[in-house]
Structures are given as structure tokens and as C-alpha cells.
């Protein structure tokens, strides 16, 4: 029985539901953990047909049992909520989805941005503290403290557990989009071990879809959904038969998911008609060009990157733009464009430089840059890819 797999798949959903029932995230987590401990003993060989529902029911019953034994005001309050909620319709508001409710709570503007992301990755992505710490290149203790403090503030300050009303909704959106994008990225290029964590990608797509249904008139929500779908569509071709990374130019396009691509293209067209470009829509448009026809129209990609850099002048965008510059104007121009970028600890900067140097025949410098990138890369698949590229230099 794959209890780890079930835990990973069900943990965040169960915590989200229990939080609605108990009115407290910390208690929800505690009882969900409890229920999984019971599952280890009870499930022996075969998990029940719907393990998530089993966990929620078990956690709820254990919560009722325990709260009955305790007599603190807090416990009575939680118990009242629990019993009160059982027979109630799910919740008011446009979306009947506990996880969406959770994401708006986790991304509440009364929490600091780093806390929002850490909390969302923990409670919605189901990532462990160590994984979040690696994703942000900060010590584990820092992430752990951020999460503890954020949960304490949610509880003490009374941050509600609900999808915001129509008036507040647009304001609350930007941080939610950032967080969803980061969860997808964590799944698409894991910070540790293997390259992909499909569950996180699918979860991010699922949550973004739910958000797009909730806010069909927000172009950036549609843009983010298109971006995720067009990226997700290429996932099957991104890793070769022996688990190795396959770059875009070498991918077997017949493996791409045509349905997702068609849906993504339709969404990008919707955004174009609306003509209110933003960073996610532009990135989606770039990915639409990549997935249109037998080969990428790099001039069009570069034009879109120019617009993106105008909207979001960050070193990461400049680095990605350089890849298009190399295709349109050659590797020497691209190399000059990334010379002054400052991205400490980010392996894709030396990796891109190495590739450009190799194409210019500057082998020794390319090897040195590959070495730097290999040292900085945190996931095995990317490291292996870089080592293979380095070996091709024959030095």
C-alpha cells in the first residue's frame, strides 16, 4: 500500500475541509495527522476506496471525541463549530471549494508575502518545510517560523476562512496568482530529487481552473491558466525514456497534449481580444508561439519577451529573453545581454552562459560555466542534463 502517495495526495484537501469544520488550521492539521496514524494501523493491506473521505471522517470523529473530553473555552468553541457545521450546506459564496477558500486565507494581505507563499506551499501544495526552504534558498528554521507565525496570526487576528466577496476579490488576486504560479513551478522543476512532481502541477492547474471559473473576467487569471496549460501540455515530452531532460528544440512534439494546447491557444486568443496585457498573459502568448506549428517562430517570441521585460523588468525575464535573442541575433549578442545579470545561486544563469559559450566555440569557458551550473543545480535530472552537455564539450 502506498501510504506516502495517499498522504501526499490527500493531506492538503483533508486539512482544508477540516479547517472549515473546525475553524482552525492548527487543529485541522493535528487531527488529520492523527487520522493518518490511525490509517497506518487500520488499513493493513488495502486502503478504503475513498481514502480522503475516510481521513476526513476519522479526523472529525477524533476531534469530536477529544473536544468532548476537554473543557476549555477554546475546545467548547471548536466543538460547537464542528457540530454546527456538519449538516450545513457547504458555504455561501460563489465557489464551493475548501481549497480555494484556503488559498485566499493563506494569501491574505495581512500576512507578509514570504509567509503567504510558504503557507500555501505547505497547506495547499503539501510540501514539507525542507522542500519550501530549498525552493527559496533560505534556512529550514526560517520557513518553519514563518509558517508558525502566519498560522498564529490567522487565528489570533481572526483572518477569515472564506473566498472574499466581489468587492475585495480583485485586490486579493495578485498574491494568489503568484502563489499558484510558484506551486506549478515547484512541480515542474522540483527543487530536489526528480525533475517533475506531477501532483503539484496538476494541483496548480486544478486550483487555477477553479479560480478562472470564479473570475472569468480577470485577464491575468485566464493568462495564468493558459500559461500553465501550455506548459503542462509539453510535460510528457520533457523527460526522455531514461528520465533525462529533453530541451524544447529536441522534444518529440507528437507527445505533446494536443487537447491542452488547443485549450491554451483558445484562452490566449481570448486574452488578445481583450487587449489588457499583463505578465501572465504575455508568458502564455510566448508559450502559444512555442506550441504553434512544427517549429518556434523566434522573432515573435523575442517581440513578446521585449513586452514582458517592459512589464516585468527582472533579471529572470532578461535571462529568458536572452535565449530568444540567441535564436534571432546569435549567441554573441545574447551573451552580451546576460553579462551584467545578478542572480546569485541561480543555476540557470551559468547554464545559459555555458550553452551560449559552447555555441561560440569557447570550449574552456563553457566547461567552467557548466561546472558552476552543476554545483548550483538542486535536482538530479537537471544536474545529469548539465553533466551530459559538459561532456559533449570534449574537454
Amino acid at each position: 500500500m502506498d501510504l506516502d502517495g495517499i498522504y501526499r495526495a490527500e493531506y492538503s484537501r483533508c486539512v482544508a475541509t477540516l479547517t472549515r469544520l473546525l475553524g482552525d488550521i492548527g487543529l485541522a492539521e493535528e487531527f488529520v495527522q492523527d487520522a493518518f496514524t490511525v490509517a497506518v494501523q487500520k488499513w493493513d493491506e488495502q486502503p478504503p476506496p475513498n481514502p480522503g473521505a475516510w481521513i476526513v471522517t476519522t479526523a472529525r470523529n477524533r476531534a469530536i471525541d477529544r473536544l468532548r473530553r476537554e473543557s476549555t473555552r477554546e475546545a467548547r468553541h471548536a466543538q460547537a463549530l464542528l457540530l454546527h457545521h456538519v449538516d450545513e450546506p457547504q458555504e455561501m459564496g460563489p465557489v464551493r471549494d475548501d481549497q480555494l477558500r484556503m488559498i485566499f486565507t493563506c494569501c491574505h494581505p495581512a500576512l507578509s508575502p514570504p509567509a503567504q507563499t510558504a503557507l500555501t506551499l505547505r497547506l495547499l501544495g503539501g510540501l514539507e518545510v525542507a522542500e519550501i526552504a530549498r525552493a527559496y534558498l533560505v534556512p529550514e528554521a526560517t520557513v518553519a517560523q514563518r509558517i508558525v507565525r502566519a498560522k498564529k496570526k490567522i487565528r489570533d487576528a481572526g483572518i477569515p476562512y472564506r473566498v472574499p466577496g466581489a468587492a475585495e476579490l480583485p485586490d486579493r488576486l495578485a498574491s494568489v496568482l503568484t502563489v499558484l504560479y510558484l506551486v506549478f513551478n515547484e512541480g515542474y522543476t522540483s527543487t530536489s530529487g526528480h525533475l517533475l512532481r506531477t501532483d503539484l502541477c496538476l494541483e496548480a492547474v486544478r486550483l487555477t481552473r477553479a479560480l478562472a471559473e470564479l473570475m472569468p473576467d480577470e485577464p491575468e487569471v485566464i493568462g495564468l491558466l493558459a500559461l500553465l496549460l501550455l506548459t503542462e501540455a509539453r510535460r510528457p515530452a520533457r523527460v526522455g525514456p531514461s528520465g533525462e531532460l529533453v530541451v524544447l528544440a529536441e522534444q518529440d512534439r507528437s507527445l505533446w497534449n494536443r487537447e491542452l494546447i488547443a485549450e491554451g491557444h483558445e484562452l490566449v486568443r481570448r486574452c488578445l481580444r481583450r487587449n489588457q496585457p499583463g505578465p501572465y498573459q504575455l508568458q502564455a502568448a510566448i508559450n502559444a508561439v512555442h506550441t504553434d506549428g512544427p517549429a518556434t517562430d523566434w522573432a515573435q517570441v523575442l517581440a513578446l519577451y521585449d513586452q514582458l521585460l517592459h512589464h516585468t523588468p527582472t533579471p529572470i525575464v532578461a535571462l529568458n529573453r536572452a535565449v530568444a535573442v540567441a535564436e534571432v541575433h546569435g549567441p554573441a549578442t545574447a551573451l552580451a545581454a546576460i553579462e551584467d545579470l545578478d542572480l546569485p545561486g541561480y543555476h540557470l544563469l551559468p547554464a545559459t552562459r555555458a550553452d551560449l559559450l559552447a555555441r561560440l566555440g569557447r570550449t574552456a569557458e563553457a566547461v567552467a560555466a557548466y561546472d558552476e551550473a552543476i554545483t548550483l543545480a538542486t535536482n538530479d535530472t537537471e544536474r545529469t542534463f548539465l553533466q551530459t552537455r559538459r561532456a559533449r564539450q570534449g574537454a
Partner: protein
Amino acid sequence: MKKYLLAVQYDESAPWPSEEDLREQQARTGQVTADMQSAGCWVFVGGLLGSHATTVVRPGNGVTTMTDGPFAETKEQLGGFWVIQCDDLDQALAWGERCALACGSPIEVRPFEDAQWT
């Protein structure tokens, strides 16, 4: 219901507003208070005089000493406050936004300790 303090962070170094501005501001804050009252969440409101009228009493070894002026010599001082009771932070923050616009000063929104589980 939870109780929240909405504390006005008044900048004492700013020029004193004109009579007319002051009247308009009082009309605005008065309206917010009236709206709190009709929404049933108003508990208390009060405006405070400035640092010049303030004295700090400190304990030490069972006796006290008194000093002239506010506790912290900062530009921003507590200029007044509302106490409200409502369901959650979002409601408190919505009132906080109205208070900030009405008095033109930052508002610190802070839950009361006993606001939990009451």
C-alpha cells in the same frame, strides 16, 4: 464576535490643520462612528490630546517616577482610537480603511486578547 482596536497613528510633526479642514475631518470621522453604531459594531471612540499633555508613570522598586511627555519619542503618536466588535479581521480591516481615509492617518488594527472565542 471579536473586538479590535483601531488606533490612529497621528503625525505630530505635521502642520496643524486649518479650522475648516479640522471641521471636515471631524465630520468624516463622526460619520464613520455613526455608521459603526448603526452596523451594531461600535464599542468605543475617543480622540486624544497630544504629547504636550502626556505624562508617563514608571514602576521601579515598589515606587514610581513620573516623566513629562509620551512613552516613545516618535513622530507618530496615538491620536485616538475606536474599539469595535465584528466577526473577523476582514470586517475590522474594512472599517480600518474607512477610518484611515476619514482621518488621513495610518490606522493600526489590533485584535483584543479576549476577542477570541467570545
